[in-house]
């Protein structure tokens, strides 16, 4: 079985799983999604940009800065941004600050479970270069080695105003059709996976979490 799959490029090996668990997970390799014809895609991108559903997953201390966004003072809803409790339905993933190895594993899983097109905003210095945890034995330094990032918002922590600015930038990127992180991820899946597996020692999940 394993020998055959080696020759089949559209099947992932799922080596991390014990034999009996491989039946439980889908082992297909994801494919890049192609945009539609130009103007249709432009129109759809406009819709996507104005309906950004956040994944409600506060991965780090930066998650506290997201709460004020929902309040009357900052009111993210007026920009078409709304939280969503399941990755299946979300389109924006906000990495809320430092990511320990354990959290990174969950981030990867959730990211892969989101449907394309999907966008990532990394919040604060930690996901950029490790921030104050730059020499920690358990905190990653660069999130973009594990998942593709569309927008970085620097700061420790960035205030809600900067986050809104970050969303604005993301909207602009989407409208310009440049927010193709998902396709980039799939294109370089092997590189990302190698980086991920380097730090996640107990890889008890499939190679791609559908």
């Amino acid at each position: 079985m394993t020998k055959e799959t080696k020759h089949n490029p559209s099947i992932l090996e799922n080596n991390g799983l014990p034999e009996f668990e491989r039946d439980y997970f889908c082992d297909a390799r994801p494919e890049q999604s192609r945009p539609l014809a130009k103007y249709i895609e432009k129109f759809l991108n406009w819709a996507r940009a104005n309906s950004l559903w956040l994944l409600g997953f506060g991965t780090g201390c930066g998650a506290v800065e997201l709460r004020p966004l929902m309040t009357a003072r900052y009111d993210m809803y007026r920009y078409g941004i709304a939280p969503r409790p399941t990755p299946r339905q979300s389109s924006v993933f906000i990495i809320g600050g430092y990511a320990s190895v354990k959290t990174t594993k969950r981030i990867i899983r959730s990211y892969e479970q989101m449907q394309q097109p999907k966008f990532v905003i990394a919040l604060g210095s930690c996901p950029i270069n490790g921030g104050m945890y730059w020499d920690s034995y358990n905190t990653i330094n660069r999130i973009d080695h594990y998942i593709p990032v569309d927008v970085y918002i620097a700061g420790c922590m960035p205030r809600p105003e900067s986050i809104i600015a970050g969303f604005d930038l993301l909207k602009k990127l989407i409208k310009e059709g440049q927010a193709e992180g998902a396709n980039k991820y799939i294109e370089n899946l092997d590189w990302y996976k190698a980086n991920q597996k380097k730090i996640i020692k107990d890889w008890n999940m499939p190679d791609y979490n559908w």
Binding site: S100, V101, K102, K105, I128, N129, G130, W134, D135, S136, Y137, N138, T139, I140, N141, R142, H145, N195, K198, I199, I200, K201, D202, W203
Partner: protein, 177 residues
């Protein structure tokens, strides 16, 4: 407090009694007597609360120092019991039968220091270091910076400074004032 120490001395070999505050005392006890001492304190001296259990890596002495901090709600006394154990063969009797929550501390110590507590529930499961395959990270001979640089793709261009001299140079760029 003194009476308690007196009573303890009759039964156990305790040393280094050090009253740091009116309500905070430390003492050391041999590894073999530690658990019975703690049981005695809990059952007869009303130290009913385990405040924490922690470890210090005394790498120079090839020893770990465990500190059991107990609290007496009646007299509001804290009592720290220090136990030295061998670093090479880091193992200590578990006290999860006295306090259920001690199991959690012991799990953490196992994960971070590699101190084993045989019999403690789920002591081999990790809290955060899923699948850790290096020496336990809280041991002082573990070089966390080196590990981080080797593992986590440090972003090039990052500088690091000695905070004291760096702040000095920032605040007083013209030199000493």
């Amino acid at each position: 407090m003194k009476e308690i120490i007196q009573r303890l001395k009759q039964q156990f070999t305790i040393s280094n009694v050090n009253q740091q505050r009116v309500d905070l005392t430390f003492l050391s006890v041999k590894k073999e007597q530690a658990v019975s001492l703690i049981s005695y304190l809990r059952d007869f001296e009303k130290f009913s609360h385990l405040v924490f259990l922690t470890a210090v890596d005394r790498v120079e002495d090839i020893q770990f120092q465990l500190t059991y901090m107990l609290h007496n709600y009646n007299t509001h006394q804290d009592l720290g019991i220090r136990v030295l154990i061998d670093r090479e063969k880091a193992e200590m009797a578990s006290i999860h039968h006295l306090w259920k929550q001690a199991g959690t501390y012991q799990r953490e110590l196992k994960e971070m220091f590699g101190i084993d507590f045989p019999g403690s529930p789920r002591v081999d499961e990790s809290f955060i270091l899923e699948g850790w395959d290096n020496i336990p990270p809280m041991r002082r001979d573990f070089d966390t910076k080196k590990y981080s640089e080797e593992t986590y793709f440090p972003r090039p261009g990052r500088e690091s400074h000695d905070p004291e001299s760096y702040m000095k140079s920032k605040l007083y760029p013209e030199g000493d004032a």
